[in-house]
């Protein structure tokens, strides 16, 4: 049996080391094999770590302990290049580092990661790596690791290419569309040539999918893509925690602190990610102290945590947006901004945010959430005004408007109650004579297939940021993905066949907007870039290709055994568990 440092715990009265059986089976056994991190941490840490090996159950010890992070899902592969799942990222962000990082607790501000200096000049990105950083296998990080990592992800000519069937959709979005060549001839300097000028590139380097892998591990996996895919079951990075084991039967991942971590922390001896599907049980587990931090709580379980004496709720503005997209390619009426504004004004969005989302969100007025560069503070949500909505519809000659509203069923962060939201929209629109037929999808992947295929009249969707860059919203969600020169000045939509950007489900076209977003992609000076996006946000607000619904907050439950001041909820990147301290 592999046992955690929990085998030994201090008796508070005497301060002596004692073996024993705390509740629920944290137990003693001299024959157990010690984890490698104990060696690394040194004997002095043993007592401290051991003290809190069962922290979830018995209370923590300073500078060590076990942090149990509960979540709703248990992926079985922790390769950052094979997934778009946030559940995987929560774990890989502990194991791996990126060249540039998001500053903990900021709204996406960049700070150094593995690189101490970085620069994007024209089409050349130059990064200087910190010296002396070691992977968990003891090898030093050099520029060749960076090159091998990127090649594994995007270059099908590379011997250790991950394979088209294995790599995630981030492959092209993060690197593939932009990287032309990589020079790693010097040990600590990486030069990346881009195919074109691209301002968000540095932010892409901070995305979890851009985490740096070990070249020796990549090569040890071999040239068969299936063997490469297996890297995710034994990941080796440079991060604050090293991978210990994946327990699929019990849906747990065990990480131990890495003694040679180059940054601040870690302050706990180990982290265990465990999975509890039910929100209520997860909240209860937190209240009982068997979980230290949990996420994705719904309104009811937030209340449960809030009412308890042993745990608290921590909130932060998220970088996300929830919206109803009008399909301009399918429904002619939606090409008239008056119709879209009328629909927006007819729907009581503040009721949706306050009642259906229980106030854990703010009403949206533009595509960019507040913390993102280019969010236009001068804009206000359209007022809730059914009378004006009716007049606008009359003016536009769309009084007998009917449309289908497609919706997914299961809650997502930006829309915790999609069916209720759809019903509210239909009911509000019915009051001004607009007939809405709700088309409900039980699985999200079918729903994405349907909406990305353009079969909807209107649909509920949303977006979490990947890199906190305005382009990640304005290009990804509203740019048609074609050259501005191919569009005419008065063009209002693009067909789904012509469109080059799958996630623009509104198929909306506004040439001025397209030109601005294109310009924003190639403008490096932040002030000028902000000006561009302020204007683009204004156009999107006025033309209303979506009914803007909400920017959802991020909610976490934290047990009292955690020093809550050391835990920062991250709107992008993280969670930064290496900074967390136990009480």
């Amino acid at each position: 049996m592999r046992l955690l440092p929990s085998i030994v715990f201090l008796t508070p009265s005497t301060g002596t080391l004692k073996f024993g059986f705390p509740p629920y089976g944290c137990m003693a056994d001299d024959s157990v094999s010690r984890r490698s991190f104990l060696k690394a941490a040194g004997a002095a840490t043993v007592a401290a770590t051991s003290t809190a090996g069962c922290t979830g159950l018995t209370g923590g010890g300073g500078g060590g302990g076990t942090l149990v992070y509960s979540r709703g899902d248990h992926p079985t592969n922790y390769d950052p290049q094979q997934t778009t799942s946030g559940e995987v990222a929560k774990v890989t962000n502990q194991i791996f580092d990126t060249l540039i990082d998001f500053k903990p607790g900021s709204g996406g501000e960049l700070t150094d990661g593995l690189a101490e200096e970085w620069e994007l000049n024209g089409t050349t990105a130059t990064l200087t790596l910190k010296e002396g950083i070691e992977f968990h296998n003891g090898e030093e990080l050099t520029a060749s690791d960076v090159k091998a990592t990127i090649n594994r992800f995007i270059d099908d000519g590379y011997e250790y290419f991950l394979g088209t069937e294995n790599r995630s959709g981030y492959s092209s979005v993060t690197f593939g569309d932009w990287v032309d060549s990589i020079d790693a001839s010097e040990d600590y300097e990486v030069t990346i040539q881009l195919t074109q000028q691209y301002a968000p590139f540095l932010r892409n380097l901070a995305m979890f999918a851009a985490a740096i892998l070990s070249q020796s591990q990549i090569e040890e996996q071999g040239s068969n893509p299936d063997d490469q895919a297996a890297l995710g079951t034994d990941p080796i990075g440079t991060g604050p925690f090293q991978f210990e084991q994946l327990d699929n039967e019990n849906q747990r991942v065990q990480l131990s602190s890495y003694g040679n971590f180059w940054g601040d922390g870690p302050n706990v001896g180990e982290v265990i990610f465990k999975t509890i599907g039910s929100n209520q049980t997860r909240a209860q587990d937190l209240i009982n102290g068997d979980t230290q931090i949990t996420d994705n709580l719904d309104a009811q379980s937030i209340q449960q945590v809030d009412n308890s004496d042993s745990a608290s709720v921590v909130q932060k503005n998220g970088i996300n947006v929830g919206y109803m997209a009008f399909n301009h390619a399918r429904k002619e009426e939606f090409r008239d901004p008056r119709v879209k504004r009328a629909i927006t004004m007819a729907v009581n969005r503040s009721a949706i945010v306050d009642d259906i989302y229980q106030g854990f969100a703010a009403e949206a007025d533009q595509p960019l959430p507040p913390d993102v560069l280019g969010h236009n503070d001068d804009l206000e949500p359209y007022p809730h005004d059914p009378d004006q909505a009716e007049s606008l519809l009359e003016e536009a000659g769309a009084t007998d408007l009917t449309f289908e509203l497609a919706t997914f069923s299961n809650p997502r962060g930006y829309n915790p109650s999609p069916i209720q939201t759809a019903n509210q929209i239909a009911s509000d629109l019915d009051k001004i004579g607009v007939d809405v037929e709700i088309n409900q999808f039980s699985t999200f992947s079918s729903y994405i297939d349907y909406t990305y295929g353009g079969q909807h009249d209107a649909c509920l969707l949303g977006w979490y940021t990947d890199n906190a860059d305005p382009d990640n919203f304005l290009y990804v969600l509203l740019h048609p993905g074609v050259e501005a020169s191919s569009l005419s000045d008065d063009q209002r939509y693009i067909s789904f066949e012509e469109k080059g950007n799958a996630s623009n489900v509104a198929a909306w076209v506004n040439k001025d907007y397209v030109e601005l977003v294109d310009e924003g992609q190639t403008t490096y000076e932040e002030g000028s870039r902000e000006e561009i996006y302020l204007e683009a946000s204004q156009i999107a607000h006025d033309d209303a290709p979506w009914m803007f619904i909400d920017y959802a907050e991020l909610i976490r439950g934290v047990h009292e055994s955690v020093n809550v001041d050391t835990y920062t909820v991250s709107s992008v990147g993280g969670p930064y568990l290496e900074l967390v301290e136990m009480n």
């Binding site: 092209s172 699929n248 209860q284």
Partner: protein, 347 residues
Amino acid sequence: MASKRFILKRLLLLVPVLFGVATFVFVILHLASGDPARVILGQRAPQEQVIALRQELGLNDPLYVQYGRFLLDAAQFDFGESYKIAQGDSVRSVLADKIPVTLELALYGQVIGILLGIPLGVISAVKQDTLTDHVGRVGALSGISIPIYWSGPMLILLFSTYLSIFPASGRIGSTIFLDSHWTLLGMQLPLTGMVTVDTLLLGEPAAWVSAVTHLFLPAMTIGIYSMALISRMMRSSMLEVVRQDYMRTARAKGQGSKITIMKHGFRNALIPVITVIGIQFGGLLGGAVLTETVFGIGGIGTMLVAAIGANDYPLVQGTVLSFALLFTLVNLVVDITYSYLDPRIQQ
């Protein structure tokens, strides 16, 4: 005892049943919308990457080619790799991980159901229309009527939150990790995946205690439901049997009523109860979905729901076929037990 011929005949019948289930699952899944390539690559992937992957997965082949390929692989119990839920893992290995989890839960639930349900049914029947009988009947009725998603959280609230006797979730203490093999006479042998068994094989009594305390509430949740059905069936079956002529004859021969009931009545009354237990066991495997969700246990039930939700075709196909196989095997065991209790059934 059941003859070999009887068992063989039953086993052969499995082939058309499984073929039917396989075809049904294939058709249903392919009628459903949702592009597996999009499922694998996610919402962020550009369309070109999705199209390339469709080609690579053979999803552009005609349906009959895909069906043929599926049947051929299914016959070897090879369902390929999971698209999403356990992305990249073979369905076979995922099932090997998950089936013991659910099986363990269902088995303990069933054992609790049988141990409580049968005596309760017999007592109710023997003490018909007394206060004991009324209490037993109301208890059984409540057990059937109370849904698992209510009884589960209530048990957590009582035993975990207020009394702190049992933990609320999981299968073993968060900080206890077991080895992947156990050793017997110097040989490394694989574990069963059932944590209450594995902890014993590994010689870890304290971990075993942790496993049992963790399993208690979920098994009880299932057990209460199972107990209710069994006791109701046992009661009515027993009442029917005690009215039979041979029971009266036994009593007329001077045998005491307890001996008559246990020796002659009980065995005969068991036949319909065993039918219920058999059918119910299949149901329990499915019913474990709710229990697993409430108690944070990652069994096959929760995984199947997630796989359906994510259009993870290979995983759904593999799981449904395994369920069908397990269900028919349990029924086979039930049939064999019948023939043991009443040899006329083989005829």
